[in-house]
């Protein structure tokens, strides 16, 4: 019986104007996003070929991560070049920092499309499931047949989820397959696996909004009311909560601003160099002091910042959109934790070579050789343990809750 209801939903979806719009939007945006982010990745790869450190250079640069096509996250921060010098780590950003328009609007990657547009699409599929059938009078007819309300609801959910998931997976698969033809991009099996996990999360995320739509449609008598209520809830969940959450977290955890930290660093190293010159000798010792001081400041900042991130993340978990973003960027290796870890690795690298770097500078050596920097992304196990698992479970819980409430609402609903 559930199958019959689901089939009916799929067929009526295919015939509806709503579904045409939804399909068009989905295909257009996913294709455009994949195309544009793919080109962006190709450009960054070309950039990397130019800036990749020569053998022996004391520079840490991570090659672009192919998964950033789907989840850009902090990729721009991660692929900066970190040059180790006697007075600390010299950071240089890539190309996109020159065009300020980039900083006005978030990147239109796959994750953005799913998080913002496809959640809306899922809502629009779900918003009139119950109320419109009631308005048309078909709900009465359906319930007069030998079918329980639970079966109707589940069948509707399955039918709509299938009509959402099938084109979504199809377009994404086609786009990704087209990318595999590009010889410059090579996804390893592990990366494809990670992408599959991101897809699964995306489906879970869209399913939540579908359930939410059905919940509201079971509670309201008119489709018009239901769509308006849902649009506000959507704006709140997707835009307001995550962005306000980080601001609120800042009220509780004081972190020094980047500007303040930069000024302090500059004051420290210029002071030490000056004292080294004025008091004579021991310039090497002074440089080591600088390195230690910088590490201390960095660690202080990192500890505070980690606390801020933790708090912001916990506040943001009120919104499934933020949890989804955190988990997906974590899996892709472009998340906040990954970037913090990369910087810790760079510090470790600096400390492993700082003594020879200082000695070589003082000796006036022109082309010294140092061991190369290598970075390995966090293994999936660690990603899941550090929050992605919780986010995924939280998403599932949101789903079940919304569906259960929808059932409760539907069970109490007047079918007339």
């Amino acid at each position: 019986m559930i199958g019959t209801v689901a089939r009916k939903e799929i067929v009526s979806n295919i015939l509806s104007y709503k579904f045409t719009v939804v399909l068009l939007l989905m295909a257009l945006l996913l294709a455009a996003s994949l195309f544009i982010m793919h080109r962006d990745f190709a450009e960054r790869t070309a950039d990397y070929q130019v800036i990749r450190p020569a053998p022996g250079a004391p520079t840490a640069v991570v090659p672009p991560n192919p998964l950033s096509i789907f989840a850009k996250g902090l990729e721009n921060a991660m692929t900066r070049s970190f040059e180790i010098g006697v007075i600390g780590v010299d950071v240089r950003a890539g190309q996109s920092s020159g065009n300020v328009i980039f900083s006005f609007f978030p990147a239109p990657d796959f994750l953005y499309i799913v998080r913002v547009v496809l959640s809306l699409v899922a809502l629009l599929l779900g918003f009139d499931q119950i109320s419109s059938e009631r308005e048309r009078g078909t709900l009465k007819l359906m319930l007069s047949g030998p079918v329980s309300r639970a079966e109707v609801l589940l069948g509707k959910w399955l039918g709509n989820f299938a009509s959402l998931a099938a084109p979504f997976l199809l377009v994404t698969a086609l786009g990704t397959a087209a990318m595999l033809f590009d010889a410059d991009i090579r996804f390893s099996a592990g990366q494809l696996g990670r992408f599959a996990l991101i897809l699964a999360l995306a489906l879970l995320y869209m399913a939540f909004f579908l359930s939410l739509g059905m919940l509201v449609s079971a509670l309201t008598r008119r489709s018009a009311t239901s769509v308006i209520a849902l649009l506000f809830v959507w704006a709140l969940l997707v835009f307001v909560l995550p962005n306000l959450g980080t601001l609120v977290a800042r009220q509780f955890v004081a972190t020094p601003s980047v500007q303040a930290l930069n000024e302090k660093r500059a004051q420290t190293w210029t002071r030490e160099i000056l004292l080294g010159i004025a008091e004579g000798g021991g310039l090497g010792e002074r440089m080591k002091t600088i390195s230690r001081e910088e590490d201390r400041m960095e660690e202080d900042f990192r500890l505070k910042f980690e606390r801020l991130v933790r708090l912001a993340r916990n506040i943001n978990r009120l919104s499934p959109a933020a949890g989804f973003l955190d988990a997906a960027t974590g899996i892709a290796g472009t998340g906040i934790d990954e970037e913090i870890r990369l910087k810790a690795e760079v510090i470790r690298y600096k400390n492993s070579i700082i003594d020879p770097v200082i000695a070589d500078l003082l000796a006036g050596k022109r082309d010294p050789a140092y061991p190369a920097f290598t970075y390995r992304y966090r293994p999936l196990g660690e990603v899941f343990a550090s929050g992605a698992m919780f986010d995924a479970a939280w998403l599932a819980a949101f789903n079940i809750l919304a569906f259960a409430l929808a059932y409760a609402g539907f069970a109490r609903a007047d079918a007339r």
């Binding site: 950039d47 950071v91 065009n99 900083s103 239109p108 704006a235 962005n243 000056l274």
Partner: protein, 476 residues
């Protein structure tokens, strides 16, 4: 008749659930945002003054000219408007090791965000069934049976929706401003209030654009159910997609070299290559001086040099000539290499500017981008302010490096002719400090005119389109 039509629209909206829901959401959000952002602003003020104290201490004790450029840098203080519009002031500094990536992941919420996302959504929700809904209820036929021209009906609908949006916006903003102004440390000037007024006018224009889109779409569709789908489709494209795609599209159409690449190249030119050239020139110039003053050829210890400079005026002249030659050589090396590096930087800047301009032009198809540019420029938190800041920084740089530094070095040399003025601590607490003043309102308004014109243009075009669509509408 006008009055009746508009009053009917207003009444219909006032009684509706959607208006109430929109109003409440808007009000709560504006007040909460104003509260949180004011706290943020005050925190920044505190930090700014702490930083200033720190800098003062440094300048008194450790300032020396060789590395002062790394320490004494122009910095943007928080502007009071930041409690409403964040713009580009978020702490996303990619050139620093300790960056703060949270705003990259979760863009901060502010008035611009509330207007661009929420108000446009409310505008669409109010108007998506303006025509099709009345048709479905059968009231459209009745209205037209009274001999009303269709143009009046469209205009009344647009005016009604516009007024209906302006009301909640003004009320919410007033409440938000109350929160901001009640904080004793926020100090708004007359120019700020004027800028806010202009932003409000632009917000009304922005909301009208979306109200007109709603009316246009509703007079194309027979049923409200399809009308809302099309409206949301258009909204998604204009608000959520076009602006985000524009910089990427521009970077393909008008590529610019990578900043890292240029930085590497210029660093090599002004560091290793400069040293090579400087050493070569110094040896050459010194050899010339040595021919004129053979006394300099003697090998002496530093103490002996000091003694002879003090006692022997002839030796002192030779010593100073030698010193001047070395200085000349390094100045020349610096000049040559800096010119080469500047050429590269100029090229980069030109290409980046071309790319930014193109991205801006593409994004201006979207009313959201227009409003964002306009609001950030008017509130001194956008690109216009960045240029203004760079100009001020340039002026300060002249005051410091052209006037103050030579004067100070001369004074130092008069006291201690053999001392190194570059690597000795000099009390610089009297140095000219960078002082940020907001740009005058006139310049800001001029910058905001093109996006405002685009918004008005959208309004006119959309109104014409809505009128045409409504004329062709079958009211049965």
């Amino acid at each position: 008749m006008w009055k009746t039509l508009i009053a009917k629209e207003l009444r219909a909206h006032l009684l509706s659930f959607r208006f109430l829901a929109g109003f409440v959401t808007l009000f709560v959000l504006v007040v909460v945002t104003a509260f949180v952002l004011t706290g943020d602003y005050v925190r920044r003020l505190d930090e700014c003054s702490a930083r200033r104290t720190e800098l003062d201490r440094y300048l008194r004790t450790y300032a020396h000219f060789n590395r002062i450029g790394n320490v004494l840098r122009p910095a943007q203080p928080p502007v009071p408007f930041q409690a409403l519009v964040r713009g580009l002031t978020a702490d996303v500094n990619m050139e620093a090791f300790d960056n703060d990536p949270l705003p990259v992941m979760f863009p901060l919420i502010d008035l611009t965000f509330i207007v661009t996302i929420l108000v446009s959504l409310i505008a669409l929700i109010l108007t998506y069934d303006a025509v099709s809904g009345e048709k479905e209820e059968g009231t459209l036929k009745l209205m037209l049976a009274n001999g009303l021209p269709r143009s009046k009906i469209v205009l009344a609908k647009a005016a009604g929706a516009g007024l209906m949006l302006l009301g909640p916006l003004v009320v919410s903003l007033a409440a938000g401003l109350l929160v901001i102004v009640l904080d004793p440390r926020v100090d708004w000037t007359g120019a700020d209030w004027a800028a806010l007024g202009l932003i409000l006018v632009a917000a009304a224009a922005y909301a009208t654009v979306f109200a007109l889109i709603g009316i246009l779409v509703s007079s194309v569709h027979r049923s409200s159910a399809s009308s809302i789908m099309t409206s949301l489709f258009v909204w998604t494209l204009l608000v959520l997609v076009v602006p985000n795609l524009s910089p990427y599209a521009a970077s393909f159409l008008s590529p610019a070299p990578s900043r890292i690449k240029v930085a590497r190249e210029t660093a090599r030119l002004t560091d290793v290559d400069r040293d090579d050239l400087g050493r070569k020139l110094a040896a050459q110039y010194r050899a010339e001086v040595l021919r004129e003053h053979p006394v300099l050829g003697e090998r002496l210890t530093e103490a002996e040099v000091k003694r002879r400079v003090a006692e022997d005026p002839q030796y002192r002249a030779a010593y100073e000539a030698g010193r001047a030659a070395v200085q000349r050589a390094w100045d020349e090396a610096n000049r040559v290499q800096n010119a080469k590096a500047d050429e590269l930087r100029r090229d980069l800047r030109k290409k980046e500017e071309a790319q930014t301009g193109l991205a801006r032009a593409i994004s201006m198809i979207s009313p959201l981008a227009d409003f964002s540019y306009l609001a950030t420029d008017l509130s001194s938190t956008g690109t216009r302010n960045q240029a203004h800041f760079a100009r001020l920084a340039g002026l300060w740089g002249q005051a410091f490096y052209r006037d103050y530094q030579p004067r100070k070095i001369e004074a130092f040399r008069a006291k201690d002719p053999t001392g190194d003025p570059w690597n000795t601590a000099i009390d610089m607490s009297d140095a000219p400090r960078f002082h940020y003043v907001e740009e005058g309102l006139g310049g800001r308004v001029r910058a905001a005119l093109p996006p405002f014109g685009a918004l008005l243009g959208f309004c006119v075009v959309l109104f014409a389109a809505a009128y045409v669509a409504f004329i062709r509408y079958d009211v049965r």
